[in-house]
């Protein structure tokens, strides 16, 4: 008889989420030792805190195993097909801002737009015999974006971390990744294409459309949303 609220389990995202709820009279805290993933909620009865990796929250929402969850819009759109039918956006939380962008080596002075990228990819393929490689972990979002933008002769290669380094390591020619300040890109001698903003993401509170609720749970949800100042 509880509403399950999924929250990122570590780092700044967790702290800022705690702050956001705290400012609205819902106090969250981790319980047990530092290493134990358990938490408590005060201020509203019947809400259970579930600490999860931000990357798993979209899946848990879609499966209906949690009723509410805080995660980035980028992760929801990458991981869920027809995301609007599986989750509803309740509130953007104003932190965790990040842009999904496409970046190329700064020494490619001839490439500034997607049109340039497409032309460079065609020439690259005929010269090197394989499609220009773009390293990313956002396969679906990037593929749809490039398809829509009329870019051809590229291939996506998977990179789950240190994506900015793939170009220097010769495992990719370009990257598509999340950036907030652009510092890491600059440090790795990359520049952002001027018209290739794939998605603007921030931490967002989502409600699952799949999680079932009985009357008591619906009342808890109502009370929680009211406390948070959100329309249902």
């Amino acid at each position: 008889m509880t509403i399950k609220l999924g929250v990122p389990s570590k780092g700044r995202l967790m702290e800022k989420t705690f702050d956001w709820f705290g400012a609205r009279g819902v106090t969250m805290s981790r319980t047990g030792s530092d290493r134990e993933y358990a938490g408590a909620v005060e201020g509203v009865d019947g809400v259970e805190l579930v600490l999860l990796s931000a990357g798993e929250i979209p899946r848990e929402l879609a499966a209906g195993r949690i009723h509410l969850g805080v995660t980035g819009t980028d992760l929801v759109r990458e991981k869920l097909g027809q995301w609007e039918q599986q989750v509803a956006e309740l509130a953007t939380l104003g932190f965790g801002h990040a842009d999904l962008i496409i970046a190329v080596p700064g020494c490619w002075v001839d490439v500034d737009t997607l049109e340039d990228l497409d032309a460079a990819a065609a020439a690259f393929r005929s010269k090197h015999g394989f499609r220009m490689r773009i390293a990313t972990k956002y396969h679906r979002l990037v593929r749809e974006f490039l398809q829509d933008s009329g870019v051809a002769d590229y291939q996506l290669v998977d990179s789950q971390g240190a994506t900015e380094g793939t170009i220097k390591n010769l495992t990719a020619e370009a990257i598509a990744d999340i950036t907030s300040t652009g510092d890491t890109l600059r440090a790795n001698h990359l520049k952002i294409l001027s018209d290739a903003l794939v998605l603007q993401s921030q931490a967002t509170l989502f409600r699952s459309r799949k999680a079932e609720m009985d009357d008591a749970e619906r009342a808890v949800m109502g009370a929680l949303l009211e406390r948070l100042g959100l329309d249902r």
């Binding site: 690259f124 010269k127 396969h139 051809a152 996506l156 170009i167």
Partner: protein, 361 residues
């Protein structure tokens, strides 16, 4: 009978019809090496096909269509001319629409013959139409070869023609390029700045990555040459647009395209091929007087059809995928044949849709 058994029975009936038309039944694996498919179709296929892998064979793809394995099989040890038929499941990843099948049966008929392309085109269409006899369907036809010929005949640089030909299958991008090359759309500010720079290669970045600075210079030289080239004339753009808008019955479309060929001599040969195909279709008993022809048809499908294209649709049921599709894919055999090529044309029927229609009737 279960739905699946009905579909199997329908597929078997179609296969025997194709065998009676002269095709040899062939089998292909369900798991295909992903590399060849990815290289051929690019990322689009990864969005549509299921990819899996093991530590020994690497990435494998659940058969997204039969064309590639059948062509590979033919190129490896087929005698010419050849006619093949096959039946089996194909798998298509669906990420946006749950109502679309991700696994369904296809029954195909493919002709590999150098002799008379018009006759082969007509044969495949007629065999498909015969197999679908008794089902009320609307047939659509087109010819990617005519547009390709029109692009090749434009009075402009080879570089521009190559770029346009490359994007025939992406209508929006094609239009954007045509606007750029005809001076209708201005070049982006960043490109203007690059071309105006005294030394565009002067920058503070280290040289990283596989794409060399020589390649960058080469592209800048190309951009310079392009900026110096005359725009494609408004008349030529109009002709291309008129061609893309041709949509009428086949005999009228042929007349229309012949008229356009007066100002676009480059499509003359393609217009003759269209005429030859029309006559060949007539000889196969196809009613060409009512057959629809649309010059843009097939441009948004997968980019391997490069000549005749066709599809059979259920009238009033835009929600259903086409019951049958097909076309000519000469260029694909060139890529897969690594130097060797064999003109090829074929089509597939989805027996599942037929069973669905028959159940509803």
């Amino acid at each position: 009978m279960s739905e699946k058994a009905k579909i199997r029975a329908r597929a078997a009936a179609l296969t025997s019809g194709f065998e009676a038309a002269g095709a040899v039944a062939v089998e292909t694996p369900v798991l295909l090496p992903a590399e060849a498919l990815l290289d051929l179709y690019g990322e689009d296929i990864r969005g549509r096909a299921y990819v899996t892998s093991d530590a020994l064979r690497g990435e494998q793809m659940l058969r997204p269509d039969f064309t590639v394995p059948v062509v590979q099989m033919h190129m490896a040890h087929g005698a010419e001319p050849a006619r093949y038929t096959y039946a089996g499941e194909v798998f298509r990843r669906q990420e946006e629409d749950q109502s679309r099948a991700n696994e369904y049966m296809q029954v195909g008929y493919e002709v590999f013959d150098r002799e008379n392309p018009a006759a082969s085109d007509a044969e495949v269409f007629a065999v498909m139409q015969e197999a679908l006899k008794g089902v009320e369907l609307r047939a659509a036809t087109g010819d990617i070869g005519i547009l390709a010929a029109a692009v090749a005949g434009l009075e402009t640089t080879e570089r521009r023609k190559r770029a346009l030909a490359r994007h025939i299958w992406r209508p929006r991008k094609f239009k954007a390029l045509l606007d750029r090359y005809s001076g209708k759309a201005e070049m982006p500010a960043s490109r203007a700045a690059l071309l105006a720079a005294d030394d565009p290669m002067e920058h503070d970045y280290p040289d990283i990555g596989l794409r060399s600075q020589a390649e960058v210079t080469e592209r800048i030289d190309g951009l310079r040459a392009d900026a110096a080239a005359d725009p494609i004339s408004p008349l030529q753009v109009e002709l291309i647009e008129a061609l893309l808008n041709v949509r009428e019955t086949l005999p009228n479309a042929l007349e229309h395209i012949r008229d356009l060929a007066v100002d676009m001599p480059a499509i003359t040969e393609a217009a003759f091929r269209l005429r030859d195909r029309m006559h060949a279709l007539e000889a196969h008993g196809v009613d060409v007087e009512t057959l629809e022809f649309e010059a843009s048809y097939g441009r948004t499908s997968m980019e391997y059809y490069d000549g005749f294209v066709f599809g059979f649709y259920v009238p009033g049921r835009a929600d259903l995928p086409p019951v049958a599709t097909g076309g000519r894919y000469d260029a694909l055999t060139q890529v897969l044949g690594q130097g060797r090529e064999i003109p090829a044309v074929g089509g597939v029927i989805r027996p599942g849709i037929l069973v669905q229609l028959e159940d509803a009737a």
